[in-house]
Amino acid sequence: MSADQFLQYLISGLTMGSIYALVGLGFTIIYAVTRIINFAQGEFVMLGGMLSFYLISSAGIPLVPALILSVLTATAIGAIMYILAIRTARRASVVSLIIITIGAAVFFRGIAGEVFPWGVDIVRPPYFTGSESISFLGAYIHPQALWIIGTTLGVMVLLHLFLSYTMVGKALKACAISPVAAGMVGINPKAMALIAFTLAAALGGIGGVVMAPLTLTYYSVGFMLGLKGFVAASIGGFKSPIATVVGGFTLGIVESLAVGVDWGPFTSSYKDVIAMVVLLLILLIRSGRLAAEERVG
């Protein structure tokens, strides 16, 4: 592998990793605050992409307002989903709530396949800033990939600041650390759960509008994206926005390098196998360390 090829694999890995991270951030926030794995997270990414294509191509709204409107709509749908489906079942166990999110995912997928005028076809919203690839030290990058990486890093920083320096953010963090203690000091866990679901839907929507021009979108794209995002969040330990983004980058770069490195008979067919083995190793090492920390603590 030559140096510029290595750089190319790295850039490719960062692009994929950013996509996984954008999906993963929603998982992390909801899990940290409510201990629910929201399997409908990928569907908000789908909704963001599909809505932006609809608003731009069918409704003729200019790019920027269309993107904002798509994200806001996805956000509102997330809040409504929490109020109608999760909060009404508040006495149910966490496992039941997770199953409710699977139901919600199937529901969103089914509706999306019906309501949009292009039905079940794949669609591509326009690129934000054209498709002329940018040359960089012998490697190439699509301008939309730069948008994706930039958005991921921007969202990560904003989330980190929000959680560390605002009252609501600190309350969310308190809920994540100990819901009982947070309740004792007057934080309403239900309000925090609503904020977490709304924020996660917004993140999904943002991810959807920024990645759809590059990855294309269709009504059932959310499931696969959700799986990868879930893995990214698991590598990050569902802990913090920064850990999730690092998790996404790790997954993306490992996948990309697994294609580039020719290990004898291990062609790109083994890419997913190699990626999974590396991930298992990371999780094993980390859980060992966590167990050690718990013993010390």
Partner: protein, 399 residues
Amino acid sequence: MKKYLKSSVILVLVVALLAIFPMGCTQEETIDAGDTYKVGALLDLSGPCSNLGIPEKQTAEMMVDQINAAGGINGHPVEIIIYDTEGDNDKAALMAEKLINQDKVLAIVGPSRSGTSMHIIDTVTTAKIPLVSLAAARSIVEPVAQRYWIFKTPQTEYEVIPEIYSYLQSANITDVAIISDTGGFGDAGRTLLLDLADDYGIDIVDDQTFADADTSMISQVTHIKGNNPQAVVCWSTDKGSAIVAQDMKTMQMEDVLLFMSHGVANKAFVTAGGDAVEGVIIPAGKVLAADEVPDSDPQKEVLVSYRDDYEALYGVGSIDTFGGHCYDGLSWVILALEEMVDGLTLAEARDFIRGEIESMPEFNGTSGVFNISPEDHLGLGTGNLYMYKIVEGEWIWLK
């Protein structure tokens, strides 16, 4: 409570038995003058292959409307009963049972996907009902000894790949990289691409794969670029193929020819692909260039009339090759029904239709000239495809 439960179980069993009995008896009923001919269709109207199922459904409905408007087949109105398999094996099997036992159809057209078609072969074989599959894989009709009741209409990779390789050979291209998805369609294509390369003097310089969940193929394309191929053959469905084209463009590989499978010969692929799929070369049925087909071609008449009828109903430019597969398959069933006499039982009628399809004389369809025989339940040779290049979002036939 327990007693109540027990008696209700017995009640359910009795009802179930009663429901089964009349089914056995009605087998003896005969199809008489003026009775409706019922034909079943199992199509992927939702799920991953719905872009195939929807034009198939539209074609089937159009054909049945035309027949009924003209007074039916020998005075029999035709009814088409369409069920959505959702691309799911179990659902396809369930719907096949429903068509066979409840709706009592004479023959079944579909399913759209190879996986679902393979899954219901046992069901239709046991029930002794003819099935005309609209899916790609060769193994649907082979080995033919075990596929007595099964036929199919679409070309397989065995017809398509030789067309691509001959084209490459005539253009003096030897260094070829292949990239395919790890699903059934991609894998079957990849295997044959590797097998046939030597016969056409082609050197496979790289062999990359990607998974359905992959969002970017830049890594695979980087690997391919490092091996300097003259042409790339991509074997996948819409989404993966469009991303491969986009990523090759990002990597500034404009001077490398890009070939794709007949699986992407549809409007949605070109629309969604946009600029990135410009210049892509695809082998596909002649229906996409119906007007340009020479008058001497035996398919000319059927191609133009099907295209005109379809676009009159569903819009100019809506034609694709998948609806054509359904046109061919349903035509076989209709041709068989035209020969059928009244007074047959359902089982006799199903057997008659199967025999008629198998012994059908040369048939000029949308996907080619079919010569079905007891040894070949597809009956297509090579020469039924054109190579198209996508130029400004249109299919241009490379003569």
